[in-house]
């Protein structure tokens, strides 16, 4: 049985997994790119090895090199996190072939669920509804897809066969739009996954995106850990998740949970996984895909069930049986996660890079922050813009929302722009508070400006601050010129200010 784990990832999820290993008394091996020498996961691990230059395909995607490092360092297992190599059956197979434990499902399960078409077929055979589309028909040409589209009906979605995270996805309202959309979807899919195959899927309007977490051991025991509500998305990227879902009732939860367990059993699933579904306004649900890995939003499930999903993954990989049964799984209170991205919500969510010069984390009761950054760390353009996750727990959903409000107000990140103001507006949105939203809410009906309307404003305060800041800077600049640069503190202040203001 292994007692040293290599974490084949970076950022908050690498740190999350390192922590779980620590708490289980396991040694850890980090791998890193040249851009990440000062990253938290490198500083934090027992051992750390350089993979290569910053771009992912020269570092975090180098499966062979990672396996080599694992073998040389004596790590007995590899945890892939999410993204990068997490859903690559060939990597999982190579890990197994090297005599190492892959902390995740078997390669066959990844392969079965990784190709969306095969996945949908598998699910239909298991008696689960899927969204109408071109599933199971192999890799179709543009011509074939254009012919099939009217049969499915509009609006519809073009989705990457190898895809995930909204990449290579396009929405199409009519046949006219299709040729252009197909071209750009294929281009994006090619860039993201090295595979430009796409398929079509009916777009269900008013749908909620709800997923069920499952955990399965090597002994055939599968338990579901209830649902997560993930409808709040922008460009098919989740922004905010909660558990339980405000639309869920016990009957639907039991039904979806049962289906999720069946799906996992159908592919002899092991470790943690997620069944993603769309739920329409009549509470019919359709299978979308299975994520054969740890999910970004796993912490909300941890907070309401008390199960540490990452530790459970490690225990399962070590051959242990699940320590709980379906009957033991309860829902305690409510949890919300806000993904904190280095993006400017006032400028069309444009990614923001730079050095985090100052950071104050929200702390206190019911707050969890999963992060891989710290004050002094440089956000580079090479990786995902998600820099941390703010997760809160409350006795009730209302308490969780109030707590999230205060946590967001406490969270200070200076040096890069973040989407914290977006989340603040969301917490003030009546539609969100009422639980009335679908997957299109953020893009089509939500506006930062509208939420701000009717709220108390402080233009005079802003005017005073703007004038005082300008005045201070002018004075300090004059002061520095007069006194020369002996006056350290002012000089430093100004220099730092100038750097920050660039």
């Amino acid at each position: 049985m292994f007692n040293k784990v290599l974490i084949a990832n970076r950022g908050e999820i690498a740190v999350r997994i390192l922590r779980a290993c620590r708490e289980l008394g396991l040694k850890t091996v980090a791998v890193y790119s040249e851009a990440d020498r000062q990253a938290m996961h490198v500083r934090y691990a027992t051992e750390a090895y350089l993979l290569g230059p910053a771009p992912s395909n020269e570092s975090y995607l180098k499966g062979d090199k990672i396996i080599e490092i694992a073998l040389q360092s004596g790590a007995g297992a590899i945890h892939p996190g999410y993204g990068f190599l997490a859903e690559r059956a060939d990597f999982a197979q190579a890990v197994e072939d090297a005599g190492l434990e892959f902390i995740g499902p078997k390669p066959s399960a990844i392969a079965a669920m990784g190709d969306k078409a095969i996945a949908r077929e598998t699910m239909m055979k298991a008696g689960v509804s899927v969204v109408p589309g071109t599933e199971g028909t192999g890799n179709l040409s543009d011509e074939e897809l254009l012919k099939l589209a009217p049969e499915i009906g509009f609006p519809l979605l073009i989705k990457a066969t190898a895809g995930g995270g909204g990449k290579g996805m396009r929405e199409v309202k009519s046949l006219d739009e299709m040729p252009v959309a197909l071209q750009s979807a294929r281009r994006e899919a090619k860039a993201a996954f090295g595979d430009d195959n796409v398929y079509l899927e009916k777009l269900i309007l008013g749908a909620r995106h709800i997923e069920v977490q499952i955990v399965a051991d090597k002994h055939g025991n599968v338990v579901h850990l209830n649902e997560r509500e993930c409808s709040l998305q922008r460009r098919h990227q989740k922004l905010l998740e909660e558990s339980p879902s405000p639309i869920m009732d016990e009957e639907l939860r039991a039904k979806m949970g049962e289906v999720a367990v069946q799906a996992a059993k159908a592919v002899h699933y092991e470790s943690a996984g997620t069944i993603e579904c769309l739920v329409d306004s009549d509470k019919n649900f359709y299978f979308l895909e299975m994520n054969t890995r740890l999910q970004v939003e796993h912490p909300i499930t941890e907070l309401v069930t008390g199960v540490d999903i990452v530790k459970e993954q490690i225990r399962i990989a070590r051959g242990r049986k699940l320590s709980f049964t379906q009957a033991d799984v309860k829902i305690n209170g409510a949890a919300i996660e806000c993904r904190v991205n280095a993006e400017d919500p006032y400028n069309n969510f444009m990614p923001s890079t730079g050095k985090i010069s100052h950071m104050v984390l929200p702390t206190g009761p019911g707050i969890r922050v999963d992060t891989g950054v710290y004050a002094g760390f440089e956000i580079t353009p090479y990786y995902d813009s998600m820099i941390s996750k703010l997760i809160v727990w409350g006795e009730t959903r209302a308490q969780a929302i109030l707590r999230m409000r205060r946590a967001l107000e406490e969270y200070k990140i200076v040096g890069v722009r973040t989407n914290i103001p977006f989340h603040q507006a969301m917490m003030d949105s009546h539609r969100f508070m009422g639980g009335q939203f679908d997957t299109r809410f953020v893009e089509e009906e939500f506006s930062l400006e509208e939420i701000a309307e009717g709220k108390e404003t402080f233009p005079e305060v802003a005017a005073i601050i703007a004038a005082l800041v300008t005045h201070d800077q002018t004075e300090r600049a004059a002061h520095v010129v007069r006194r020369g640069d002996r006056d350290t503190s002012n000089w430093k202040w100004l220099s730092r200010w100038e750097r920050l203001s660039k």
Partner: protein, 165 residues
Amino acid sequence: MKYATTIDGKEYIVEIIDERHVSVDGKVIEVDFESIEEQPVFSLIVDGKSYESYVYRTEEDLEVLVKGRLYHAQVEDERERRLRAASGGAVAQSGPFQLKAPMPGLVVAVPVSEGQEVKEGDVLLILESMKMQNELKSPRDGVVGRIHVGAGDSVEQRQKMLSVE
């Protein structure tokens, strides 16, 4: 010192009287203003009310974040103001718009060509950064001038990519 401060279009005349007093449009207010540790974070107490604010300087203005809302501020002191008034009031607002890279990245596509007419909101360039494709749009109507980059080029932050005239 007096400052004409414009917040989202409305002008306030803010006079700095001394360390503890300012006047806003002639009304004297006691203020307690502190800069928090070399950071663009400020704490202002006015009349017992505690406000914490971030201030960002951009090329065009100061952005002041107070209680979760962003205010755009232009500040001019008296001298600047007189100069501007003397020069006829209008600051040169025209001239070509330079599209600079807002962050380092990879140019995915340039869907316009030199000499092409564009409208406000038209996509000028698609830049990939942080695993996202970002559409950079024209801020106004005009004609595309020189294009300095092409699909596949890597760009540094603030690098000039093209102009709209």
